[in-house]
């Protein structure tokens, strides 16, 4: 498990490694070491990215060793995270949301609900997933300097 600068994180495709995603997002969004309750951008992104990385580990790498690279880009309106893995190609559109109570199978549904955009491209035998999260209006935003503006106030 290694931090690679502020805006990039490379982790092994294991459940325990996904615990690095939250602190990394807090650093990317300048939230300090603790999540800021005024902004749910980081917590929404953390849940979606943890779900996605678990899917990559379980299905993309099928439990085999592999790594996942996350690259964050903060802009005026929110956060985009590109997640790159070398697992098997997978089309999320082939999986429908559960329509009855079941134990498993909610990960993709949650990712779809938490992201404003979620798409994948295949480049150089790698999957490039793009997850877009808009900052919630009023509660928080991201100023032009790439820092979170808390409580909807002026930066």
């Amino acid at each position: 498990m290694t931090f690679h600068g502020r805006d990039e994180l490379i982790i092994p495709a294991t459940p325990v490694a996904t615990r690095l995603i939250g602190p990394w997002l807090n650093a990317v969004l300048d939230l300090g070491h603790e999540p800021d309750p005024a902004s749910d951008l980081a917590s929404r992104a953390e849940l979606a990215l943890v779900e996605h990385c678990n899917n990559v580990a379980l299905h993309g790498y099928a439990g085999d060793e592999g790594s996942i690279r996350l690259v964050a880009q903060v802009d005026d309106d929110g956060l985009t995270v590109t997640v790159i893995d070398s697992g098997v190609e997978f089309d999320p559109r082939s999986v429908a949301d559960p329509d009855e109570v079941q134990v498993h199978g909610y990960g993709l549904m949650i990712i779809r609900k938490l992201t404003d955009e979620f798409d994948m491209s295949r480049e150089n035998d790698s999957n490039h997933w793009r997850l877009r999260f808009s900052a919630p209006p009023g509660a928080a935003g991201v100023d032009r300097g790439g820092k979170v503006r808390k409580n909807g106030g002026n930066p």
Binding site: P15, T18, D40, S43, V50, N54, V103, M109, L114
Partner: protein, 97 residues
């Protein structure tokens, strides 16, 4: 007399922690304790792997004429997975004291 076992979970209930909770729930049900309360009041994060352990336990306990109730997480972020999957309408929640 109905025996109710309370399991307290704190920190993160994710893919790393879920197997231990699932095993603990199953162990109680296999011993005939089918009414359980899982206290999530102090939990900071729940993902669908953690949710799966709870759903599995709820189904098993209800099949045995019991129930698995949850103490509601105080963290909005930790409760989010229940809302997004609508399991907030399926589990019976107890408010934290």
């Amino acid at each position: 007399m109905v025996t109710v076992v309370r399991l307290v979970v704190d920190g993160r209930l994710d893919a790393e922690a879920a197997p231990a909770l699932r095993d603990a729930i199953n162990a109680h049900i296999e011993r005939g304790v089918v009414n359980l309360v899982v206290d999530l009041a102090s939990i900071s994060f729940v993902d669908t792997a953690g949710l799966a352990a709870l759903v599995s336990g709820m189904k098993r306990s209800r099949q045995a004429s019991g129930d698995l109730q949850l103490v509601r997480p105080t963290s909005t972020a930790a409760f989010r997975v229940f809302e997004l999957t609508q399991f907030d309408q399926i589990f019976r929640f107890v408010e934290p004291t």
